[in-house]
Amino acid sequence: MTAIALYYDEEKNPGGFAPVGVPLRDLTDDDLAEMPKHIKASAEAAPFFRKTKPAAKTKADAPAADATQKAEAK
């Protein structure tokens, strides 16, 4: 599997709208190489695709289930 060229940041696309011909997932070098020029340009310009991996969610973003699990563990 080739390297990831563009990471998909779902949080930046709440509407789930996709550029023509672009899947809403991480895109590899092979994915971009397969795309026609105008579609690759759309993917690279879209605000929800980025060259660096989005930051992992912090503890503050952790779901409430974690707090419940901690209470059960006690």
Partner: protein, 328 residues
């Protein structure tokens, strides 16, 4: 050039006729842009049987048309060109994502937006472009007797067509499919409150408005129009429903009965209790248009309301759409 790869895109112009690139919307429906021209061929005496010796183009423009599923996410773009320009959305109570766009045109200013339209299969690197495109007419149609969703069709003109390098295309706006059987239709006396009395047996509804726009071909080296002029317009709602004696009686008599028709096409849930929708209100005299057959055995009646200004509104019609769009 393959039809499957064709795209239609657009961008609202801040200055009419000044092309905007890149486009801000890729439409999810079918469209075409067709180059048009007129030519002057002088009728000359050349002493032969030949009909033409020379000619010159006198004007150039684009005719465009599009049709497809009506879409609440796309509606703000088209309504800015068709209904009223310059509208900004409000945030409904309890909303985070939802936005409500409402259009009530007082008819005192020419505020319609024009757009730069793009269309073609772009895989060979270029695309057709028509600046100064306007909507001349748009029709919103629903028919519960067919297998179709709620659809719209629109047409208009643009400046002379040119080929340009494919610009960067934005994400394609796609709203939910709007279904005729998920509409709600209300009919009330204009003296009452619109949206009060729901009709249960409406099979078909159509809303149509022609803008009566005139392109003005003033001096221009490109032989295309440089201005547009506006004429008067009305919105006409036509609906077919099961025979109802009370409503039929509104259409008869020696005085016109003024009513308000509200039609809302509801799509998918956005959040909480807020849904995507497109809504049209038309006020005016209810008129009997004829008898119809509905679902083979039913006797239905076709009625219409052509917009007449309601003084408290300042317009004979109102449009609204709820979606997640914050800008066009």
């Amino acid at each position: 050039m393959e039809k499957a790869f064709e795209i239609a895109a657009g961008a609202i112009e801040s200055t009419r006729g000044t092309a905007v690139t890149p486009p801000t919307i890729v439409f999810p429906f079918n469209a075409t842009l067709t180059p048009m021209e007129e030519e002057y061929i002088p009728d000359e005496s050349r002493g032969t049987l030949h009909g033409e010796y020379r000619g010159a183009l006198t004007r150039r423009w684009t005719e465009w048309e599009g049709e497809g599923g009506a879409d609440a996410q796309v509606a703000p773009f088209l309504f800015a060109m068709w209904a009223k320009g310059g509208v900004t959305p409000t945030t409904p109570g309890g909303a985070t994502l939802s936005r409500l766009w409402e259009y009530v045109d007082l008819g005192t200013a020419d505020n319609l937006k024009t757009a730069t339209f793009y269309w073609k299969d772009p895989t060979d690197g270029d695309i057709f472009r028509a600046p100064f495109s306007y909507i001349e007419e748009l029709t919103l149609t629903s028919d519960s007797t067919s297998n179709s969703g709620v659809t719209w069709s629109a047409s208009g003109q643009g400046n002379a067509l040119s080929l340009v390098t494919v610009p960067v295309l934005p994400a394609q706006l796609i709203g939910s499919i709007l279904l005729p059987m998920k509409k709600t239709v209300y009919l009330d006396l204009q003296s009452g409150t619109i949206g009060t009395t729901q009709l249960a047996e409406v099979a078909k509804v159509e809303h149509a408005m022609t803008n009566n726009i005139s392109p003005k071909f003033f001096d221009n080296a490109n032989l295309t129009y440089t201005r547009i002029g506006r004429g008067k317009r009305v919105m006409k709602a036509t609906f077919t429903m099961e025979y109802d004696e009370t409503i039929y009686n509104y259409t008869q008599g020696t005085s016109p009965t003024l009513m308000g028709l509200r039609t809302r096409y509801t799509g998918d849930l956005i959040e909480g209790a807020l849904y995507e929708y497109i809504e049209a209100d038309v006020y005016g005299r209810i008129k009997f248009e004829g008898w119809e057959d509905i679902f083979d055995t039913n006797r239905g009646m076709k009625l219409s309301i052509t917009s007449r200004v309601k003084s408290s509104l300042g317009s004979g019609w109102r449009l609204a759409t709820q979606n997640t769009q914050t800008t066009i």
